[in-house]
Amino acid sequence: MEQRPHGHKLYFAADSPVHRAPAHLKLLALLGFMLVVVATPGTAYPVFAVYAVILLGVVVVSRVPFGYLLPRMLVEIPFVVFALLLPFLATGPQTTFLGMTVSQHGLEAAGSLLIKATIGVAASLTLAATTEPHALIDGLRRLRLPYEMVQIMAFMIRYLDVVTDEMHRMRVARESRGFRATSFRQWGALARTGSALFIRSYERGERVHLAMLSRGHDPRGGRS
């Protein structure tokens, strides 16, 4: 069966000061950094350059290769699409940009959104690449996040791979019976797979819960 190397898809194993720093400090640093970035006026471009240099410095120190981070930055694409639409959708004074007449506010908002989103995604990926998921969970616990929230996130990380594997096996079983997702008419089968997966995950959740109860877990906030 499918076996994954230990650790998570976003984590890059290495030994660096950034890897060794306590997870809760890294989380606080990321949160603080992002608050500052978001609060900076959208047109203060030199200031953003300084932020970018700081972030690049951290990446260099962490020894995570840029070639590792860059492909993972693709998660930003929905924001990019939205940012590209803004200059055309926003109203107000018009200006010309690359020969097109676009909204001035829209253009500025798009630029600011792109810059902030890029810095945010890069910073979050750096955290994920240098901190193992269980360390992050411990960090959140040390930051006194509500017990239930931490538990939910821990379960998500624990079962993400299980559900992904399950999804993969269902896809193999589907394709083995000649299924090809080539046209929208096939969406029905995909939707049914999705709902079956949902029910199975839900039932697994119940089984996990029962197994926890049988080992003396107290559902009312007990930290057994």
Partner: protein
């Protein structure tokens, strides 16, 4: 001899993460045979099976099904000819009713209307589940779900039925019923299993895969009786079971 249903030559495969699982496997299965594929966990049995219908493609070597090479342009025909029943029936059953699930494969082959309905009922009949056609699969017992999973593949009228651990998690009665169903089918069978008595009962021929190569390919009874060989390949008969006296 006839054209083999399955003709695997020099098959080698490594997963994208670099872990090599198969190191040159040769396997030929002729029409009408029932062959057991044995071997310890991690020997590469499932990896080999996934090559038979092109879910995985060889790193080296070739796979042919009734003379047809397993390459992308042949996938629809290959997947009709090679029916794989996976170990966990829940991976295979995802529809609201048993009927829809059994119809999924033949519908992918382009069957519609009456022809499709006949296929579905015939397949369900072969596994003794016809009366459950309109039930939701997740309300059936595990043994019934496994039988429906077999039907979802039989409905495609495959030339070879590949069963991945067919007896796992079945109670003895369900295990017996499934054996009777397999015996009654007029189809070539490749059965991947750890259940050695089951292999002896159903398959006259056994192939042992060990560390990514075929370690033995012979008469099942002879093979299971060779204690030194069995131990060397991490195979173990159930307590008190003697293949020479069955």
């Amino acid at each position: 001899m006839s054209v083999p249903v399955i003709d695997v030559r020099g098959l080698a495969y490594a997963y994208p993460d670099g872990r090599q699982v198969l190191y040159g496997v040769d396997l030929h299965i002729h029409p009408g045979e029932r062959v057991a594929l044995l071997g310890p966990n991690g020997a590469g049995k499932t990896t080999l099976v996934l090559h038979l219908n092109g879910i995985l493609l060889p790193g080296a070597g070739t796979v042919e099904v009734s003379g047809m090479p397993v390459v992308k342009k042949n996938f629809p025909e290959i997947r009709r000819r090679v029916g794989i029943v996976f170990q966990d029936p829940d991976d295979q059953l995802f529809s609201a009713t048993v009927r829809d699930d059994v119809a999924f494969g033949p519908a992918n082959l382009g069957l519609r209307g009456d022809a499709l309905e006949r296929r579905v009922l015939h397949a369900l009949d072969q596994v003794g589940m016809a009366e459950y056609a309109d039930r939701p699969p997740h309300h059936l017992s595990f043994g019934q779900r496994r039988r429906v999973a077999v039907a979802t593949v039989l409905a495609m009228e495959p030339q070879i039925l590949v069963l991945d651990e067919p007896s796992s998690n079945l109670d003895p009665m369900a295990r017996r019923e499934l054996a009777d169903i397999v015996r009654a089918l007029d189809v070539t069978v490749l059965m991947v299993t750890h259940d050695l008595p089951y292999a002896l009962e159903l398959c006259p021929r056994a192939v042992v895969l060990s560390d990514g190569v075929v370690a033995a390919d012979s008469d099942t009874r002879k093979l299971l009786s060779d204690e030194d060989f069995m131990r060397a390949h991490r195979l173990e008969l159930p307590y008190g079971f003697d293949p020479r006296t069955v």
